[in-house]
Symmetry: C2
């Protein structure tokens, strides 16, 4: 579907449309906005992308994305080894936990979950590296998503860590803060009741 | 709200979040996607933005955005003068009409609509240029949005063109193709009935 803006603009729209959350129509709106705010938005975004292309790397220790490796979290002296190691599926989960301010912990990014249907086996995830890191920590928290694949992955990792003597835990299930009971599924509600706490 | 990715990544997220349709959360997802698909997406997008920054200009004749001025539409010899001139509020409307394949017409981008509340007067829009161009065409189609501001702008332009002897028309109101009567507002329905056509 051609626009009327020449090949450079058309190509920019097609690339923007491949970002999550943007389709062809919203990509076109975004590119028009970029062009209208050329000095205030397009030029800085172009420069920021150039810098990021050069700077971004994957942390060789934990799998986080940063501009250095080991990443800022792995290199942070306040996050001493011997504490919590939180295992997440994806970098976005790591960032979400950091925004939540979970404290001076370290992370391990699996890079996905076990999914035989999609051909994702243990060798495709960063599980061997996790088993090697585990003995340095007092507790491994499996913060994988509460999906079938996530829980399968958690079980597999628990088995692999069984001989290491490290405590393995998972996140609590329960009512989301601010959530309404009426809208929650039965599984969450029954888990929340089982894990009820004294007030 | 800091992420864990260093200032380059944080700045990229903040710039992406200023695009229409992207908020802070979706900008973060988009940037993560960019980083994960660095070679396939981030590098080409960075290059496409660089090229677009250099290449993009506003057509001095019609206000379209293109990589040359006069733009591809104004320079197209098949779109002879003396035909239809379609007046639109914004470049996105021009592109929408071109995608609809409205034919060998020319355009004039106003750059907005009259809006006293927002301090937009006739001198802020490309209306003087439209009045100068008008005599070259057989008909001026005011394809402004069917909003109060759009219709006010259409009235103002009609008054300004009154002495030029050029025929001034507007888009038809009616039932959208594929639309259901039940969901249409009364104004559209009564306009559609008034403008009914023989089958």
């Amino acid at each position: 579907m051609a626009t009327s803006g020449g090949p450079e603009i058309e190509q920019l729209i097609q690339l923007m449309a491949r970002l999550p959350g943007l389709g062809p129509r919203s990509a076109r709106r975004a590119v028009l906005q970029l062009i209208k705010k050329k000095e205030a938005l397009m030029v800085p975004l172009s420069a920021a992308l150039d810098r990021a292309v050069d700077a971004v790397r994957v942390c060789e220790v934990c799998g986080n994305i940063d501009t250095r490796s080991p990443c800022g979290i792995c290199a942070d002296p306040r996050r001493a080894e011997g504490g919590l190691l939180i295992v997440v599926e994806d970098v976005s989960d790591l960032w979400a936990l950091e925004r939540a301010g979970v404290g001076m912990v370290k992370y391990h990014v699996l890079g996905g979950v076990l999914s035989p249907l999609d051909g994702v086996g243990p060798e495709d995830l960063s599980i061997d590296a996790l088993v090697r890191r585990a003995p340095e920590f007092s507790e491994i928290v499996l913060a994988v998503n509460a999906t079938v694949e996530g829980q399968t992955t958690a079980h597999y990792i628990t088995d692999r860590l069984a001989g290491s003597g490290v405590k393995v835990t998972r996140l609590a299930h329960g009512v989301p803060v601010g959530g309404e009971l009426d809208y929650l599924d039965e599984g969450t509600l029954s888990q929340a009741l089982k894990a009820r706490t004294a007030i």
